[in-house]
Every structure is written in C-alpha cells, then in structure tokens.
Amino acid sequence: MKARRWLLGRLGGAIATILMVLLLNFVLFRLMPGSPDRALARNPRVSAAAMEAARVRWGLDKPIFPDQLIAYVGATLKGDFGYSVKYGGREVTSVIGEKIGPTLLIVGLGEIIALAAGIALGAWTGWRRGRFGDRVGTLGALILYSMPYFWLGMLLITLFATTLGWLPTSGISTPGGPGGIEGAIDLLRHAALPIATIALGLIGQYAILLRSSVAESLREGYVLTARAKGLRDERILRGHILPNALLPTVTLAALNAGYVIGGALTVEIVFSWPGLGLLTQEALQSRDYPILQGVFLLLSVSVVMANLLADLLYSRLDPRVRHGAAR
C-alpha cells in the first residue's frame, strides 16, 4: 500500500516535470524577438502553405495566454513539434527521427560498456579504499570524469585514427562502401571510437559513485557478519555488498543522465557522427530553434523516463521499498 503510494508519487512527479518542460519550451519560444513565424519567413525555401500551416498551428492570431499555450501543448502532445527552418520546413519529428538511431547506437553501447567497467572499477577501489590501488584508481576515475567528452574524442582520433591509423577518423560509413556483413563491420569500425569516448567519459562517474557506496557499505554490520562467516572476499563483495551498493548508484546515475547526454552530444560533433548532436550543432549555426526545442523536449522526456525506470527498478529490487518500509 505504502509502496504503491510511493510509486504513484514518482509517476506524478515525472508528469509534473514533463509539463514543466513544455511550459519552459513555450516560454522560450515566445522569448524570441518577433513572432515565431519570423524564423520561418527568413528561409526562402519554406513554402507559403507551410507558413500558413504554422500560423494556424501556433494560433498566432489569438492571445498568448491561454490560447497559444493550449495550442502549443496540444500540438506537442499529439507529436507535432513544428517545422524545421533549415530543412526547408520539414516536420521536426521526421528530421529528429532520422537522427535518433545513430545516437542511440553509440550512447547505448557506450553506456553498457561504461556500466560494466565502472561497476568493476568502483567495486574494486571501494573494496580497497585507502590503499594504493584505490588512490590510483580513484584519481584515474576523477581524471576521466573531469575530461570534456569532446576533448577525449579529439585525443582518441589523434592517437588511434591519425597516428596509428587503426580506425577511421570520422563519419558513420565509408562513402560508396560495401553493404551486408562487410558494411556492418565498416559501421562498427566507424562507431568504435565514438563509443569508446562515451564509455571512457562515463566510467569515471559510475566508478566514483559506486566506490563511495561500496566504501560506506564496508562499515555495515552485515559485512562483519559475512566476514565472520568465513566467506571469501569475492563472495562478500558480490553476494553482500554489491546488492546493497548498486541500487543507490543506479538511481544517482539516472539522475545524472541529463548532464551526461549533453556532453555525449559533443562527441558526435568531433566524429561528424550523423546523430542528434551533429543535428544540434547545425541547428545552432542556422538558428533553427524548432529543431533545438524538439531535441531538448525529446531528451528531457527520455531522461524523465530513465529516472522513472530507475525508480521502478529500485522498488522491484530493494525489498525494503517493495514492502513499503522506510528508505
């Protein structure tokens, strides 16, 4: 009962956050000098029909509040994010839709690798806290965490692509390259460095979070019990400490996802990887605000969802939350 109320609270919070994002987006839109169709009017390639559709959609002949706000929220909820300036008035959703795949590929794989490596590094340094290995590992994690993603990417290109020549410097595929399995290998060769960049950048964060959580767990009574039981170190770490330490780490990592995504976008710029990051930079250069807002909205909703998912996971995995005991 208590657990259900807790979950409903989380769900309500997520919805409130998304509504707040919509409001923020609306205000930003109106903040711009001139009316929103001015941006469209600047582009000669936008057809008169598209202009008219935009005017109707935004309800520009009606007052800002509440009519325009309602029109905006209604349209957005229906999946209508407006029209891109740069892409000749194409729908924002379709432009963004094309770019999600490549971004998901490198961010997803990078995230998985980083989670595995970060958990391993964090568990190890936390277990050996205060000792030499911990000092070195923690400093390494801090350095990785403090590196701007784009800089890390530039370094990797210089070393592995330019100097050693092992991997391509940029792009998603070799122009006019083969298809089929060879094409997939070509794609992976192009994706390797962007994925490595994102993974390396994230490892530090996960390692630091888990280390402090593991180091804290070491002081707990159940660890003393496990030691007294004569269990091997590895068993104590895996069987007793990690199940306790992993949960708060997952939640904290989800909370940080928004911050991470922003940095990950810059990786695409460095590698000319045709995803949301590159799209964002192009949109920024051509002041294509509808695209920028679409990206912001999409990423915000993803991050809110990720947090909700982490909460759900937490409540499934931690018996104390599952049974509604105090956290």
């Binding site: 009574g221 159940y222 019990t225 496990a226 007294a228 039981k229 004569g230 007793h240 949960l247 049974h323």
Partner: protein, 359 residues
C-alpha cells in the same frame, strides 16, 4: 528434529587441531590500535580466558572496556588499524593468532558469533533463509537443496514461524531477527558460540526468551558459550564462570557463584552494587564516580585507581599482578595477597551510596 543441523555428530576437527586440547583458550592477549594521529591505544591488555564444551563464560564490563575487541581478535576481524601485539588464542590446540592461521577454516565452522543489533548484522536485501543457507552451502560444501532444507529446520528450531521463512530481515520483529541471527550462527554447527551483547536492544520479555533459547542451544549442541555483556544479571542467569573487564584488563574472574556472592575487586563491588536488586529488596545502590580512562593516555599503575576508594600511592604507580587462587579465582588488586592460596576474604570498598525510592 531438533538435531537437524547438528546431525553430523562426529565433528571433523580442522587439520592440526587435536580433540584432547582445551576447546578455546586465550592467554596473555594484548591488542592495540593505531590512531589517526599516530598514537597507539591498547584496547586489550594481557587477558586470559577459556571456555570448555557446554560451558558458559561471561565477559562483563562497561562499554569501551575492550570486550568487543576480544571478539575481533578471536575471529581475526580486527579493524585494519588493529594489531595483536602478544598472546595466544588456541582452538583445540590450533593457533589462531599466528601468521597464516587457518581462520578460513575455523570461522563459523568452529567459532560463530551472534552480533548485537541484528538489524544491522543481517543483510537487508537477502532473505533470512538464504542467509542461514549461505554458510551451509559455501562453508560445509552442501548442495543448495540440502542447505535450504537445513536452513528451514534451523529457523524452525529457533522458533521462526513457517510462514516467515521467506521474509527479509526488516519484516521480522526484533526478537525474531535475533532468533534468525542465532540460526545463522548455528548454521555450520560450531563448537564455540560467542554472543556479543546478543540481547542489548531487546525489551525484557523478549530478552528472556532469547536467553532461554541460547541456553537451550548450548545444552543441545554442547556449545562452549562466551557471553559478552554489560548486564551482570544476564551473566548471573546464564553463565558458569565470569570475567570482569576494566580498561582492557580482566580485574577479577571465577565461578559466577563465587564472584557474585563474594565480590573482591573494588570495581566488581561497584558494578554489582550499582543496580538495585528487586528480588533481594535492596534499594541502596553504590555510586561509582568518574569515567573509564582514556585508553590512549593511560597513567601508570592500576587503571582503576583514579576511581577506587581503596587506592593508595602504590596503586597509582605499580601495575597490580594477577593472582591465581584456588577454585580458578583470579584477582588483580594490590589490596589482596596470595596468602594460603584460597580465595581471600572480601574487603568492602567504601563507595558513596544512594537510597532509592525514599519518599
């Protein structure tokens, strides 16, 4: 049924141990810790303690007197800044202090602990049944099914209802948790059980139930029981022998009957006189002034001297030797001498007293 986990009655002693040697024997144990500013603190200073099968020995003293450090030393689980400087801990002749001591073999299989505060001593995200089964599976090498089955029997044995078998620690009451902790401790049928303040956080009625259970288990399994507590009433009810600790040293030890009827050391007298005794109708309590000393800055001489009404110049300069009398009574106090070797007549220390319940 009650012998579910203890079914393998023929104990397999670890290699190097011999059944003829005493069960557990601590002699001259000294443990110190390095503080963050580099000073050393001697928490346990040359204590002797032993326990035989089916025997219950109480170790009593205020918090900070070094009782729990003794547990750490026996289990080889001192904090990283702790060190055993001198002395021996032998299990059936097996040296547990030496470098490369077979702790991995003795922990839990031979010596197990019921820690205080089962809410923290049990892992919050693992079912109690699995916490009982874990050591059976990993330390005794049983299959998962056998371990689960044994765990079920053990939990039943300590009085956990059937429907709570799959509960997590937080779903049990304080008394049930302590019962479960006892089942965890008994999971490998150890020969020695150490209770480190096992009933401190519990209310009186639950405390009595747990103590009764502990006593039953001791008789059933022939356990050597070391009971560590600040509560002398518990020791009086449960133990055969008792050792009184003050500032890292055992100041007096002997049979419970002997010590409780004729306390000789001034500190023991204060401890026994500090609580009103409802049964004896005693309402006057002795008042022990001052605080236990700072272990990192101990003055020379008897550690109790600053608070002792009988202390003189010699007490403040010279460490009192531990004298061993007949009937296994030991005493470390300058006021007593060996004499004819029989336990001496107590000297009453003149503590200030307080009358309770006077209206």
């Amino acid at each position: 049924m009650s012998t579910a986990a203890g079914a393998d009655h023929v104990r397999q002693l670890p290699a190097g141990a011999d059944a003829a040697s005493p069960l557990l024997e601590i002699s001259g144990l000294r443990v110190s810790f390095t503080l963050s500013d580099g000073r050393r603190l001697t928490a346990v200073d040359g204590i002797n303690l032993s326990v035989a099968p089916s025997e219950a020995v109480g170790l009593a003293g205020e918090s900070g007197s070094g009782k729990s450090t003794v547990v750490g030393a026996i289990m080889g689980l001192l904090a990283p800044n702790g060190r055993i400087d001198a002395g021996n801990i032998r299990y059936r002749g097996l040296d547990l202090v030496a470098k490369g001591a077979p702790l991995r073999r003795t922990r839990w299989r031979e010596i197990a602990v019921v820690f205080q505060g089962s809410l923290v001593a049990l892992n919050p995200v693992i079912k109690v049944r699995d916490q009982v089964a874990e050591a059976i599976e990993l330390r005794l090498g049983e299959s998962a099914e056998v371990a689960q089955e044994k765990a079920k029997h053990l939990l039943h044995d300590v009085g956990i209802p059937e429907k709570r078998l799959n509960a997590y620690p937080h779903q049990l009451s304080g008394g049930q948790r302590q019962r479960a902790m006892l089942a965890v401790a008994l999971s490998c049928s150890p020969a020695v059980l150490i209770g480190d303040e096992p009933t401190t956080a519990l209310d009186v009625i639950v405390q009595a139930q747990i103590l009764e259970l502990l006593d039953r288990m001791r008789q059933e399994y022939g356990l050597g029981l070391i009971l560590i507590t600040h509560d002398l009433a518990v020791i009086a009810d449960m133990c055969d022998r008792v050792a009184i600790m003050y500032a890292g040293r055992i100041v007096e030890s002997g049979s419970v009957k002997e010590i409780f009827s004729a306390p000789r050391h001034p500190y023991t007298q204060a401890l026994l006189g500090a609580a009103p005794d409802a049964r004896a109708g005693r309402r006057t309590i002795k008042v022990l002034e001052g605080h236990p000393p700072d272990l990192s800055a101990l003055p020379p001489g008897c550690h109790f001297a600053p608070r002792c009404p009988l202390a003189d110049a010699r007490c403040r300069e010279e460490d009192p030797p531990t004298i061993e009398y007949a009937d296994r009574v030991t005493l470390a106090c300058h006021r007593y001498s060996l004499g004819d070797g029989k336990p001496p007549t107590p000297i009453d220390a003149p503590y200030p007293t307080l009358e309770l319940g006077k209206r």
